[in-house]
Point group: C2
Chain length 261, copies 2
């Protein structure tokens, strides 16, 4: 697949010409999960986000009526994600390419860090990323780990998984620790059953990838977590990215670390 820069990817998503997962795209740029929900649920949701920084590292909040991310010049969060999910009363009611058809002026938008962000650093360090090699979406799983609830929001943590050669696991942990806005260090290494994952081949989101001899499955907290919280909370209307189909910013992958100093 062709590798696009961030601005081109957003333009193509807007024009309906890019509707695929964004892993491997816009190398070195910060990628983001998107959740938009009504203003009256915004305090509970922001509190939920701040209480769970591992699955939901906060990048930016756009107040109701704001659509351009300060990390993506000329962007529009309603059109620049390759694929959206629409939730009505907590149920996923379908996927759409352009969210303007269902957007409402009272929706507040949350951009939350994504682990695709650190994959450029993995590749540069010579550590292969299986779902990029296989041209698939990253595998994601619902776990038995509860998030810390806030108001109407709560529920299990979702994780993404990357198989890593056993001899590289510690190095990958140290490397991803540099990217706290991209979920940072893994939350678990090696034992899917301890997370309540019975079979790696049965993903809850994304696509399964092969785990080879000598590789260990490594799990990172995932920004799809709030999509499960929307279900529990039965929020009247919410719009999210489709898992793996991220909002791509112009910010460098380590930018946020500098801001947090």
């Amino acid at each position: 697949m062709e590798t696009l820069d961030a601005a081109t990817l957003r333009q193509q998503a807007r024009a309906g010409r890019f509707a695929a997962p964004t892993a491997g795209q816009a190398p070195g740029k910060l990628q983001a999960n998107l959740v938009a929900l009504p203003e009256r649920n915004a305090f509970d949701f922001l509190l939920y986000v701040t209480r769970n920084p591992k699955p939901m590292p906060l990048i930016e909040v756009l107040e109701a009526g704001r659509y351009e991310s300060r990390h993506a010049r000329g962007s529009d969060v309603r059109t620049d994600v390759p694929r959206y999910r629409v939730f009505r009363h907590g149920q996923c009611a379908g996927e759409i390419a352009d969210a303007r058809e269902v957007w409402r002026p009272d929706l507040v938008t949350f951009l939350i860090g994504c682990s695709f962000t650190f994959e450029t650093a993995m590749l540069r360090a010579g550590i292969p990323v299986r779902h990029i090699e296989q041209g698939r979406n990253v595998p994601m799983y619902r776990t038995n780990r509860a998030t810390t609830p806030a108001g109407i929001f709560g529920g299990p943590m979702v994780v993404s998984m990357r198989p890593v050669a056993a001899g590289l696991v510690a190095r990958v942990a140290a490397l991803t620790a540099r990217y706290p806005l991209a979920h940072g260090v893994p939350i678990h290494v090696g034992a899917p059953k301890a997370l309540g994952i019975e079979e790696l081949a049965r993903v809850d989101f994304g696509e399964a990838v092969s785990v080879e001899q000598g590789e260990v499955p490594v799990f990172w907290a995932c920004g799809v977590t709030p999509q499960l919280a929307l279900e529990t909370a039965r929020v009247e209307l919410a719009i999210t990215h489709a898992p793996g189909h991220m909002f791509v910013t112009d910010a460098g992958d380590e930018t946020a670390n500098l801001e947090a100093l």
Copy 2:
């Protein structure tokens, strides 16, 4: 002055027997700024906090009706701060020892990190802390630096100042970088006028301390910043700690760093 442990200090504050600044108290424990305001302003304020992590590193939010910090067993945020300020329509209407007399059930409480937290580490590293030596409150100044606004909240950043021997400044910066929940690295070193501070002897909060020959004034973002934002926002009712009179938790001074990994 006698050094109290965190639980004893909270008990004595509750009983009206401790009403002094908390610098040097409860060594090695996380100290916190307190802001309580009505639920209807809580989203704007939480957004303001997350947009300004340097002056307002968030430790905890207690929803309306909750008074015990999860970082301080048996605590009550309405009584355990040595001294409170009450703001009505943005104006400081006075200081009180027990906030229960003005508390309302719709107040949401925010605990925000405080630079007193890293002073134990400074002392252990052999770096003197002048206001502790002189038995005074820390000097604090309003600056010409604007915070990033959110909703009704905005305004200038407040800083605390500690004089540091020139040869120790870089070490102090590196040391305090380990405490992002206590404002982390200084925001400025050496030039008060660049921050709009005309005279170090004229403090806006706390008390002035002497700056000796060979020492440089070092400035950290300060959790009194939101008290100025309350003025601008004219919030109907807000309760804060009195500057320097912090809520002292049982959490170790580095605890939050581990949680954020």
